[in-house]
């Protein structure tokens, strides 16, 4: 980060942002780590408009690749099916793994896509693909879904971060990436605990001092602004308001603010608590929150791994659905349960399943997605898609469409138009409410 960059780009108003804020809002908070860039600030100020109807996304990222056969596309009795049974869901004719009874009871809110063929079985490359919906080009680094949501749904006057990601386990950790959208839309990354680092004011600064400093800055800014109507100055002030908001948002990450009943609803596991924080953030207006739950890469003992991890996933998904629904948020909040790929139908000699991107599944709930749908079909052994094949681009076109974002809109890299999804890709219309 260039700490000498300026808010407005002019030498007259060169300010050292770190110097002004003190170290309290320092480098760890990447959401505003580079808000000094002229482009980013002017973009947010110039945008001006309130973004659509404030859709939000909570992504449950099943890092390492969960098995579709032990979750959304069971094949009981097939040679590849494994030992788990399938159970009837609340939607007649739709069955999922017996490991997910709670989701089964809520299937009317959820759609399953069973026909993903994403053609990339490498953790790193596949994770990038499935977080973006498309592959980077040599000269174009695409933003991930979080960054696009931050841009499309983030509000200029927001006091909360636009993109928050939890990835506490170390295996396969991949940071969020705003690509060519730049650091204005980069995520606040939480990797060590559930509280963002470095947003607390320094202990040596009293609350009164903190407020008075802000008031003084605002007064000076107003005096300076008089007679100087300028959108860039607006951005300048907005940036400070935003940082103040972020510093005040610390409590959003504190699950102890919730009742014991609500905490029990989500469970006292790390995954459950992060999902609860995600709901708190979504409710406060954060457009995108990713909760990564690693690590599903079950090359050995696949069934033991899924026996251990799927019930937790089932519980967390059910809690999120119920809580969002009770709060009237489910209609505008999308839960995407996604991994970088699925697992092979073939069971290896360690009773594991390996990487498999040819015929796998994900689920989407709420936020403009039609519930109660099982879209697409794989063959009897789960080896290939036989109906409704969808690649990453199609999945993303569907997600964007459901969220009210035109998947064919262009961003601009200089004068080059860059479409949001691969040209020629259409959403799965059956899934868009």
């Amino acid at each position: 980060m260039n700490t000498k960059s300026t808010f407005c780009g002019s030498n007259d108003h060169r300010l050292n942002r770190r110097g002004f804020l003190g170290l309290s809002a320092a480098a760890g908070v990447s959401a505003f780590a580079d808000m000094t860039g002229l482009d980013a600030l002017s973009n947010s100020a110039l945008a001006g408009e309130l973004k659509k109807d404030q859709k939000r996304v909570i992504m449950l990222w099943l890092a390492g690749g969960s098995s579709q056969l032990e979750t959304f596309d069971p094949k009981p009795g097939a040679p590849t099916g494994g030992p788990f049974r399938s159970i009837q869901t609340a939607v007649p004719g739709v069955h999922i793994s017996e490991l997910m009874p709670k989701l089964a009871a809520r299937m009317q809110h959820t759609c399953i896509i069973r026909s993903l063929n994403t053609k990339n079985g490498d953790h790193g490359g596949a994770a990038k693909l499935m977080m973006r919906g498309r592959r980077d080009e040599a000269v174009v680094k695409y933003p991930d879904l979080g960054a696009v949501m931050a841009k499309e749904m983030g509000r200029a006057d927001s006091k909360v971060p636009d993109y928050v990601t939890f990835y506490t386990q170390t295996e396969g950790r991949m940071a969020g990436d705003s690509g060519f959208l730049g650091s204005r839309y980069a995520p606040m990354e939480l990797t060590t605990n559930n509280q963002p680092p470095d947003i607390r004011k320094l202990d040596g600064i009293s609350e009164l001092d903190h407020v008075q400093r802000a008031d003084l800055r605002e007064l000076m800014s107003k005096q300076f602004s008089q007679g100087r109507p300028n959108k860039v100055l607006g951005s300048h002030n907005e940036a400070y308001q935003r940082v103040r908001g972020l510093m005040a948002s610390e409590k959003l990450f504190d699950v102890s603010q919730e009742s014991a009943k609500t905490r029990d609803l989500y469970g006292r596991s790390q995954f459950g608590e992060q999902a609860l924080i995600a709901r708190r953030l979504a409710e406060a207006g954060v457009p995108f929150i990713r909760v990564a739950r690693a690590w599903w890469d079950s090359h050995g003992q696949n069934f033991e791994t899924h026996q251990e991890m799927v019930p937790e996933l089932d519980h967390v998904m059910a809690a999120l659905i119920d809580d969002l629904k009770d709060r009237g948020l489910l209609e505008n909040t999308m839960i995407v349960t996604l991994a970088e790929f699925g697992r092979t139908p073939g069971i290896n000699s360690s009773l594991g399943r390996d990487h498999f991107a040819s015929a796998w599944s994900c689920s989407i709930t709420g936020g403009g997605i039609k519930g109660g749908v099982a879209y697409g079909k794989t063959d009897a052994n789960g080896n290939k898609v036989v109906e409704g094949e969808a690649d990453a681009a199609k999945l993303y076109a569907t997600i964007y469409s459901a969220l009210g974002i035109n998947p064919h809109k262009n961003y601009y890299l200089g004068s080059r138009p860059v479409p949001l999804v691969e040209p020629g890709t259409e959403a799965i219309k059956e899934l868009v409410a």
């Binding site: 390492g64 009795g77 040679p79 030992p83 788990f84 049974r85 506490t168 386990q169 170390t170 295996e171 006292r268 596991s269 790390q270 739950r293 690693a294 690590w295 890469d297 079950s298 090359h299 050995g300 003992q301 033991e304 791994t305 026996q307 251990e308 991890m309 019930p311 937790e312 069971i347 290896n348 000699s349 360690s350 009773l351 594991g352």
Partner: protein, 333 residues
Amino acid sequence: MPAKPEQFKTVKEHGFKAICFSLTLRPNTAKVVFGASDFKVYEADFAATKFEPKELYGHESYVTGVALAGTKIVSGGYDCKLSWFDSAANKMIKSETAHGKWIRGVHASKDGKTIVSVGDDMVAKLWDAESGKLLHELKGHAEKTPTNFNSMLYAAAFTDDGKTVATGDKVGKIILWDVATGKKTGELEAPVFYTWDPTARLHSIGGIRSLAFSPDGKTLAVGGSGKIGNIDHLEGKARVELFDVATSKRTWEHQSDKFAGLVNHLQFSPDGSWLLGAGGAAEGFYLMLDPVGKKSIRQEKAGMHIHDVTTTPDMSTLYVAGHNKLAICECKG
């Protein structure tokens, strides 16, 4: 003639369409009854000119335990059911839900009078082999791991006199039970078999997968895998621990310097002079150990990940069930 582990050799391997999890030998024959991942129980005759396993009956999920009680076959599986099948009459006697979760193993006492089944409901159950009547429910293994995930109860073994049964769970706890009363008589701890990864992957792997008492009942062998670094794979070394039953003290810990994976089967020789271990990961292995001298006698690669072994009483012939294969091996001088 006593079996000689130094003479161990694989005689024949037969491919099979499913994963073979458990098997038991019909006395004085070369016929085995085995359970498989295609939900079925089969009988196969290794002495037949053509090796053609014959389907006997089915479960509704993986069949993970088979035992013999006279002409009756007792089998258990991940459908939580225990089935009692009269093979002489070729008729199912009864099939009932015996456990609340997956049945991981079914074993008969040496005299064939008592059956023990273990399941992920963390209960071991003792059954009268003849009548199928439930004798005792053995409850003492924790249902949850220390990190609040569901635990699993994998292993059980009787002493040769049938008076004691040991059970071993995922987190490395072993409980000794009095068969007559169903009361707990002792506990042993073998935590190395369980790997919990709190940092990189936030889940677990491992567990006690096999148990065997020495013929005098004084020593208990425990099998599984050593600590695993990358729990995506069964990369921990094949591990066996010996315990002195009277003191509950571990007397030997052995990790293969050659093979990784789970020791799924343990069996002392009739005179207690050697101990057979078998199991696998991506590939399978046989371990032949000297429990008295506390040293390895021999380690051999197997043609498949081995899930179970049954032998002639003198252990000179071994019948082996594994990943898409069945095999016959010999330890004859």
